[in-house]
Symmetry: C2
Subunit: 469 residues, 2 copies
């Protein structure tokens, strides 16, 4: 079948837009979680029509297709086998329009986040999604995974900023829902099917993003807190005092902070390590004087209430960057670790991490457990490093983390998605009826299970609810 | 069949929770668009389990069911025939929890918007959706129609504030997606299927809303503008100057303003009638001094640029209410008129309304055409009154309004939805492939077409795309 499919796909995109053999093995991943690329071929369409034709050919042959954006996800969302066709959106990288009056950005799915951010900035506007993988991740990928990031507390998840999109179904049908209006209740909002479904219901080819107002004021503070209750109280005060300009509220456990400031040298750290928790608060607005005075007033009120033991406010853009560098210094923490991304009530997060920490150490005395995350969004990341970790041990760690989570009615994925890596744990957060409905949607839209097979749901398994299709 | 179904439903809810005959005819609608209620019976479940059992019974019998929230929609979204069962959510009216820390409100679907607003306010928080029908509309209804309203420019449509929901499918399956976290990417976001699909895919029984910070500062201005370009420029300035606190940007054509201030007496109007356009700008925040100074600075800059010819700023809550009363005085405008709710580029709205006005008057010289709407959200309402209007004339008016709209790539419904009234016009805004996909979703989730039949999509018609199921 290989030759047949590859030659048919060559007919669609031309021989120069398809790689096989060494061309597949040489595929470069920007991100560390991938080893070498496995695939029958990597194909690079340059238009929606080509994507549609590729899917028609593959669907007719029952050929599996794995869509690649930047492939920066952390849940094996782009995992492939040697039998798959990789469909890379990399060459669909055109920004089609920035409408300054309507405040929209219309682009092909392969545009990187950085490209979109810079284009919005050049137009005097603001692209509302941001996170560490910005140089590599692509708009189609951030939409199909409903990506989160650092500014969710202000702008919501990616879903909230997507006005329209175009997607191609498994059978090649093009669903063009390129809405560009804030309000549009003309029938079902079909784009929602494709936002956050990780490429298993369709391949996103174009998107319309809502842009925001470019900020001219930035205020950033780094605070050390001694109790998690104090951290939660700081969050409450920030929400009450600067609800409209609060753009980030991050928390780091001391273990994270120590690891992150190590390269700086402890003495050069803006706040000394050794406290129990570290918090970054950021506000963005358009009025330097008023925003700065409101931010200072918040800090004074936190100091009066003795909610932090040490802290600093950035006095320049450079100082703000230094603070954010600490938070962005995740590689020493997550590299080689088993990483989690869960959501639960913000007020419960301290207790939850303590319980996980105790349970992990009971079973793995030498483990290193590190917490950090987006407290304002109910979201904590936990990285667990175990010497000479083996698959069986990793499973043991997952069991502890998710079993603790179930007691808090938490969600197994806050922002990273499910992919292959978390499918096993989905029933902790979703009911059998929900998983059955997801599976029915998958079966309806992709009856041959060719699109990113195995991710999120497993349509070949038996219905999980008595009411299943 | 009547007696059989009614007696089975009596077994489910008890004889006191079901009305037939005169009890149906006496059903009271709070809103003027309904005449008498037509139905086989009106049934009042008091729990999700009862809703599920009602649907199981009706689905087995192929019995159509029309869900009623407040029935305040404007698109025949709750239209019934004498053969339908009406399922009223009115008695599922409990607020289950307000979580002040998590800032969520969890409630049954039959809670009115006013009740939710007051409960949030009592907890020191803010319910983010508001519009004129607040005393009667219910949370299940505003979610199932993805309602808009006056504060969309700041808080988005209802969809943006819904964290979780519970819905019952046609076959009685309960889909419980009662997420309460800002971030949750644990599988497909199934709630999106039920938000805005107008009760044709499932009946919403419970909801989780995200609450906001209660505002303590309110600034309101009413401005008279001579050109639509000036109105658009005022919107741009407001977005740039107060992007985070701008909560409303409304525009009224002079015809609206004249009709609305008539009961007040022209001399008592806060700004004299006779200008071409009137704009209401509102900001809400938590810092009286800073917000007021920013709002005044905006007004000064608009005055310097001579973007308005007359205007007033509310100096008290009472003056603000007086300004909003004008905008809320829609009855003299929409009563007896043919009413539209479309979205298109804000900058095009002036031109569009002028074209509609000219085309209507060419065919109906005595017509009254009145424009008003939420300019900040791309949304304009047009009310067309024709003496002795007949069905054929109404159709002629619709043709003009929507044919003009197609030239602007507009959407036939911005916030009111499709219901029965606009289904005919859906193809102006949605492709055949989109409508076919909507129809496939309907067929999958409601194969016997018992849920709110005829609204939005028509599953009995043939597939509208060659790729249809």
């Amino acid at each position: 079948m290989t030759d047949d499919i590859v030659s048919k796909l060559e007919d669609v995109v031309g021989a120069r837009q398809i790689n096989t053999g060494a061309g597949v093995r040489d595929f470069e991943f920007p991100w560390s979680t991938h080893q070498a690329c496995l695939a029958r071929a990597v194909v690079y369409p340059q238009s929606t029509a080509e994507v549609a034709e590729i899917l028609r050919v593959c669907n007719a042959a029952g050929q599996s297709v794995v869509p690649f954006g930047g492939a920066t996800n952390l849940v094996q969302g782009c995992a492939t086998t040697a039998d798959d066709i990789v469909l890379s959106l990399r060459k669909m990288n055109q920004i089609e329009e920035i409408d300054s009056g309507g405040r929209t950005l219309t682009a092909q799915a392969g545009v990187t986040m950085r490209h979109a951010q810079m284009a919005a900035d050049d137009a005097g506007l603001f692209f509302p999604v941001d996170f560490g993988a910005r140089d590599h991740c692509q708009l189609g990928g951030i939409v199909s995974t409903n990506a989160g990031g650092n500014k969710v507390i202000r702008y919501g998840m990616t879903r909230n900023s997507v006005l329209g999109l175009e997607a191609v179904l498994a059978d090649g049908t093009i669903i063009s829902s390129m809405n560009r209006y804030l309000k549009n209740n003309s029938g079902f909002d079909l784009k929602q099917l494709f936002v956050g479904s990780e490429g298993v219901l369709g391949i996103i080819t174009r998107v319309v993003f809502r842009l925001g107002t470019k900020a001219t004021s930035h205020n950033t503070a780094l605070l050390a807190c001694e109790s998690f209750d104090d951290v939660v109280a700081v969050l409450g005060c920030a929400r009450d005092a600067i609800p409209n300009t609060l753009t980030a509220f991050e928390v780091m456990w001391n273990e994270f902070y120590e690891l992150a400031v190590e390269p700086l040298g402890r003495l050069a750290a803006p706040v000394q390590p050794g406290a129990n928790y570290y918090v970054i608060i950021e506000s963005m607005g358009v009025d330097e004087e008023r925003d700065s005075s409101a931010f200072h007033a918040l800090m004074e009120s936190l100091a009066e209430r003795q909610l932090f033991s040490d802290g600093t406010m950035a006095k320049s853009g450079r100082e703000s960057e230094q603070i954010w560098q600490i938070r962005d210094e995740v590689e020493p923490v997550i590299g080689g670790a088993i990483n989690f991304d869960v959501s639960l009530k913000s007020a419960d997060i301290g207790d939850y991490v303590s319980r996980v920490d105790a349970a992990i150490h009971e079973r793995f005395p030498d483990a290193r457990v590190v917490g950090f995350g987006h407290l304002g969004d109910n979201n904590v990341h936990i990285s667990v490093a175990i010497k000479d970790s083996e698959e069986q041990q990793a499973l043991g760690v997952e069991e502890i983390v998710y079993n603790c989570l179930a007691a808090f009615d938490g969600a197994v994925s806050a922002e990273h998605g499910i992919g292959l890596a978390k499918r096993k744990w989905l029933p902790i957060s979703r009911t059998a009826a929900e998983i059955d409905l997801m599976t029915r949607l998958k079966r309806m839209l992709d009856p041959k299970n060719i699109l990113n097979p195995g991710k999120v749901v497993s349509p070949d398994s038996k219905p999980e609810s008595p009411n299943g299709a």
